[in-house]
Amino acid sequence: MASSFLEIGLEAGKRWQELTAGERPWIRIGTALCGEAAGAFEVADAVEAALESQGVSATVSRVGCLGLCFAEPILDVQLPGGHRIFYGNVDSESVSEIISTHVAGGTPITAKALGYLAQEGSTAPVPDGIPDLNKHPMKAWENRIVLRNAGNIDPLDIYQYIANGGYQALHKSLTDLNREETLNEVKASGLRGRGGAAFPTATKWSFLAGNPAPEKFVLCNCEEGDPGAFNDKNILESDPNTLVEGVIIAGHATGATKGYIFIRHGHNGPIDRCRAAVDQARELGFLGENIMGTDFSYEIEIALTGDSYVAGEESALMEAIEGKRAMPRFRPPFPAQVGLFGKPTNINNVKTLAYVPEIVSKGGEWFAGIGHDTSTGTVILCLSGNLKYTGMIEVPLGMNLKDVIYEAAGGMKEGKTLKFLQTGGPLGGVLGADNIDVLLDFEVLRAAGAIVGSGGLIAADDSTCIVDLTRSLIAFCQYESCGKCFPCRMGMSHLLEVLERLCRLEGTTDDLALMQKIGVNMQAGSLCGHGQLGFNPVSSALRYFGPEFDTHIVEHTCPTGTCLEPSYSPAQSRR
């Protein structure tokens, strides 16, 4: 606390130098949720055990996600002063060999290496016969802004974040810029909300900044219940400090007194890492009274919610923090007037706030130069489904969606053919395979009947039945409806009933018109996006795959045969 920011920076630099060019090799293991699911914890244990049994000394860090989830568990070895060499699909057996041959012996196992990443400042020659990981299809298109540290630094060590430029943006915002100038940088960047609505962030902030109330809040939304999207949790796991810094800068720019980071109970990886980032920021004087010696005082609290998808809706989120049922509120009044505990409040998504430090550091103009038209900056896409390469990539907006699928993600697995993409979470829409020649741009995608939304992209091959997937999406929406507005509560149940009928091949020609009618009512009569957008999965499916629905109804057959297989969904809805 007593140290100045300059002294903290020097200490961080010294520690980083020691890690990368000290005496010990550095082993980093990807342990985000994707790594955990692939067995990264077992690999990390095996690494520790092998080091011990072979008597080898090395630093071991559990880092976040590099994005190449298809190759998890991934570990990399950086010999002192050398480049990082990565191994994919690692198991306990290969760990032993990597430790003896590479870490202790100093010779990379060329045949098993996934690739290398050249390190700035290293004079070591690049390894022979190992591919440059930056040329891997999944990395070649990337421009990492939010994810610049993901997979590189230990998320539990704020000094590693600072050594890589962390907290310079907050320092700049507090000492070189004032509140208004900070807000102007965000305005110049053209940053738009990444939670789904793509509302201009600076405009939203200005509503709160213009409110003279003495107590105001900034909320960061990491509810993220979307099946197919995991980028918010991944940011918290891979680089929580960048989010925390963004929440502090947002507080400064809007004149808020406190920030809340809202996470679903039970997601312990993101929660623990975020808590550590907040505690360490407080220890170093980046939170609390008179931050960095200025008159700005600010606190951040982590608030947890129970399982509820609708808790990710901004007004329901405030209800949940207040400890109530996560149900949306009537608006007006809007949160910037009457928000959390009745105080003026601004709500942003994790990704939105995580962009802020780099925008303030490098300037709004720099950010506005990336992207397409009014969709500035990058987008973080979660690639899943039947793709060759699944994982998470950060690419400039304006990239062609076709290139994302066929180039970055390597096309479909097992030589199959793409049938459709499900975009932007369960309330987004599907895009037929012939319609993915579109730019990743908020307006362009919306016009095509899909959305960028949360950044989830689920690719389905031609063995998938569109009616079956639509039923699955509506089953999710029905289960997650909070029940406050009856057009959504009843509408989702009725839609599900109709879709189940279609899947049993017992549908009638009236069913499509019936669904349309339900959809219109849901859109008109629901308070929040869950009901207003809840018909999207059906309407976009009908738009691109009308004939396949007809086959189910008229010919009573399912072309892929999927609909005849057993299907399960939760027995019980919200009471």
Binding site: F230, A326, F476, Y568
Partner: protein
């Protein structure tokens, strides 16, 4: 004060975050006991200056809360769209078979709970299940059933 009420008391009063609410208190009890007994609804109501009805309204809304003691182990099967596409339904079928269940819920001997999870957050590793909250990805019907069988064969009781 009974042992159960003492644990509820300690969980509720042990919260360290500044914002303490009905929901946060229920989550604290759930973390401690694994379920919300009737005593906890009453305790949290008294603690929060609310009615039992108010507390029940919150508790019944969030499906992560259960109201009877948990089974020894829990297996979550993800049914999100990413997992659905790559065979989640077959995973569910084989997990249920291995557990001897017809649908989600507890086995009669309370050794295992099988439940749906709408997204476990590791979609790139689909299909995903969680065994006692530990994720396992890229499972197939056989490996998922194996996980269940291994859990049920473990000796001893308690977590």
């Amino acid at each position: 004060m009974s042992g159960l009420v003492q644990r509820i008391h300690d969980a509720v009063y042990g919260q360290t975050q500044p914002t303490v609410t009905v929901l946060s208190s229920l989550l604290a009890v759930e973390d401690e006991l694994g379920y919300i007994p009737k005593e906890a609804l009453e305790f949290v109501a008294e603690f929060s200056n609310a009615t039992v009805n108010d507390v029940w309204a919150v508790a019944s809304f969030y499906p992560n809360f259960r109201f009877d003691p948990p089974a020894e182990h829990v297996v979550d099967v993800c049914w999100g769209a990413s997992c659905h596409l790559v065979g989640a339904m077959n995973i569910f079928k084989s997990v249920l078979e291995a557990a001897g269940l017809d649908d989600e819920g507890d086995t009669p001997d309370k050794r295992l709970t099988v439940r749906f999870n709408s997204c476990l957050g590791a979609c790139s590793q689909a299909p995903v299940i969680a065994i006692d909250h530990h994720l396992a990805g890229r499972v197939n019907p056989e490996s998922a059933a194996n996980h269940v069988t291994c859990l049920l064969q473990q000796d001893g009781h308690g977590k």
